[in-house]
Symmetry: D2
Subunit: 266 residues, 4 copies
């Protein structure tokens, strides 16, 4: 039964929302746009009618032929994992640390190089809204198109500028509060990116190999950046069950190394 407060408090599903339909028995979920007349095709059976969802409060249980599901408001993590991943994927653990380490919050102006599928772009945009902006760049039109579509599901299209850009091309905007690089050869962009940063702004570079972070860290030091550091985050799931609590048996061992640095005026 819906909570009376949920409707009063604006917790109702509105037309156009992307709703996370989550099934209890197998922890599988679907991101579905709430549109009148829409039928959502899901892997587990015949299409679902979403008409009745509109106006229902988030958190509503739906019993259907496919099992017991719940209509949830997707978290940033849900949206990141639901992104179409034709490019590499950024993990929530890494996105979270980036926000904190680079001080990315409402009102900040963030430069992203390497849009990919827009997974990280979404997390950045959510953090700078409502009065900041993410300027994201990729050399591939198809990635920009894909990212644009994904960002719309975050409902964050107003906070992102998509730009096609060739490697080492100068940026028309300046005075960025933070820069995120998610490209294979970030050291080639250090000089042009530095030009676009405010003094004291943070630069973060994500790369999977040691060779890349070694080269990037040295390039940053040579370019006069300070606080050049690298780390990695490991997320280890724990099964928390009465009398049998233990780490799960397999985990993701490696995603990206995180190199961070700060620009100073010299």
């Amino acid at each position: 039964m819906a909570d009376a407060n949920d409707l009063a408090s604006g917790n109702a599903i509105r037309e156009g929302d992307f709703v996370l339909l989550w099934f209890d028995e197998d922890d599988v979920s679907y991101l579905v746009e709430a549109r009148p007349g829409k039928k959502a095709a899901i892997h587990r059976g015949r299409p679902l009618e979403v008409d009745s969802w509109i106006g229902a409060p988030y958190g509503t249980k739906v019993e259907c032929a496919h099992g017991t599901g719940y209509l949830l408001k997707p978290s940033t993590e849900d949206l990141m994992f639901k992104n179409s991943r034709e490019s590499g994927v950024i993990y929530p653990k890494d996105a979270g640390l980036i926000l904190i380490r680079a001080g990315i919050s409402a009102g900040k102006k963030v430069l992203e190089v390497g849009t990919g599928s827009g997974t990280l772009t979404g997390a950045l945009a959510r953090a700078v809204a409502p009065d900041g902006r993410v300027f994201t760049h990729d050399r591939r039109d198809d990635f920009l198109e894909l990212a644009r579509k994904n960002i719309r599901r975050f409902g964050l299209q107003d906070y992102v500028e998509f730009r096609r850009r060739e490697p080492q091309e100068a940026f028309p905007e300046k005075d960025f509060d933070a820069v995120i690089l998610d490209i294979p050869t970030p050291w080639e962009e250090v000089d042009v990116v530095k030009e676009a940063m405010k003094g004291s702004a943070a630069l973060i570079s994500l790369n999977p190999t040691f060779n890349q972070i070694e080269r990037m860290a040295e390039a940053l030091r040579r370019a006069g950046f300070i606080r050049v550091e690298a780390c990695e985050l490991l997320e280890r799931p724990i099964l928390a069950r009465e009398g049998k609590t233990r780490p799960v048996q397999r985990m993701v061992s490696h995603t990206e190394f995180i190199v961070s640095a700060v620009k100073v005026n010299s």
Copy 2:
């Protein structure tokens, strides 16, 4: 030399700012309020005069008797680590994942139980500003006072409500988008907290022992929460230096386990 754009772009240090003075040679930093006439007492020698800082752009290099320093705008991470820690400490890695997992962003209304020194409170407040609020609760007045002071250094006092509260006391506010518990016996608060949550809102509980997360996870399942999960994050620093890149030799092995769950309407 200062970047011309830095002044134009509002990147100048203003009176009342908390500035991070960072020293190159030993990676030690100090958080100093920029007040006219103020002398900052730092461990490395006689007090520093901060008068000249006001109006200088962030990122400025300062040469002084104490070595080569830089005037930096503190990131969320810097502020978290500079908090007075008379209570336990929350790590940036954990705070970051919480933001992403619970979907905490501008405009959200967040409930925190266990203010402590306000370290996490600051990260939450920065994420919900400018139009959201964090309502934080502690049973100890001294912690609330300490946190209030720390939050002022974040410049986030407008986004936080501090409340003294006894365990299991009902909350006057309802309809929270997210709840964070950082207390030793979180299972005792599950029912009262659930009352205050919107449908589909996320609950996160932080605890250091397996005993606590096992008990909390089971309490959440019994109370009808869904997606009850636990994990831990390990941050491993890497020394990225040409020809000798390797993980550093010692690391923090454990901070807090993170239990997460979602409220649904039943």
Copy 3:
């Protein structure tokens, strides 16, 4: 081509040896007994004739319809991974630490409770040979039978005594140099096991959950054991390739916790 020294040095495959046939292209291997007239059934195609292996030196390359293979002498690790695993599996990393931590070496008399498939038994037996013994116990005849078969593949049958035993039953032998428990409720065996240990002997208990190691550690302290400690080992594979060295993307996150303690005379 075979190394002349290999034959001289007794490096030739002998009748009855268990040979590891390892295929280059997919890192798949088979443990095959070298018996005249034997045809080895392997997953990748028609049976292999092993006649010609006998007398060949270890390390010989064999080209066959199934690809390029090599005839290898199985390491302890190979034998552990090739064990029939109808019971739980012990990992080489854990077995190795046990040997070092409990000082298990040639001549030692080791007590094992929980034979399972005999994986750890084999590693222990290899360490105590030629003049030590492993006394291994299980309540299930089928496990003892399975382990006996597995131990024969290690060629270690002379160093192991297999014993059927009920929980909490006293041990006829005494004066063990080390005790290994690999059972679900090790705390029930602490007293009877202590009786059978020499002063200063090490006890090691392997269990997957926190609940178990907490209970076991406390039982050991209560029974007067000293140096009661617990740890876990994580093995992280690294892809070491020119210009793209990085941790692999998925790993085993958890096997067993290792509780260790030392008996003293009181």
Copy 4:
């Protein structure tokens, strides 16, 4: 009180034994040679008389001015940690995996390049005794002398040959069952070491940086080795206490990467 069986079973401390004196209250221990008339100088107070230890069973409690201690038989791990460490240190977790992965057991002939302080040498010697041998090489006489002294404390001097050797010098012995390299530039030794190995023998190289293991792995592949792999082991201590079980807060994050490979005949 001593166990009657301890004396019967040869569990008495003999003249010349190295005894681990372990103190309960602070987990500090001392490795002391049991010599008549000897006074052991320990950090915690005036010298201890060890006369009375000789003939006492291992595991005996000693009450003295310094606290409550126990006379223990040092495990391989204890001896490794008590080695004089003027050179780098090898950790028990790594030594254990090496034994299992390289199949090092009684009777094996092992080649070690890079003796250092002899820490790993001791673990290897203990594993090959009584009828195997470790041939260990270093270019520095002082390390060989230090290692010789340390190996005597293990009581393993009969199983180790110490050799002074220049880099890339050929080995007079051949047909080694396993090779361990613990030197900064192992790739320079691949060819000469390969010459000295049996077919199917294992090679293990220990190095702390990614640059080293990348270069070594590629050198091994070029030299025709198979099963070229790399990994690292992390040991995480757990505090197992009733109601407050959790990982300890700080840990060793990195020791050595382990590269392994197998020689084949070509």
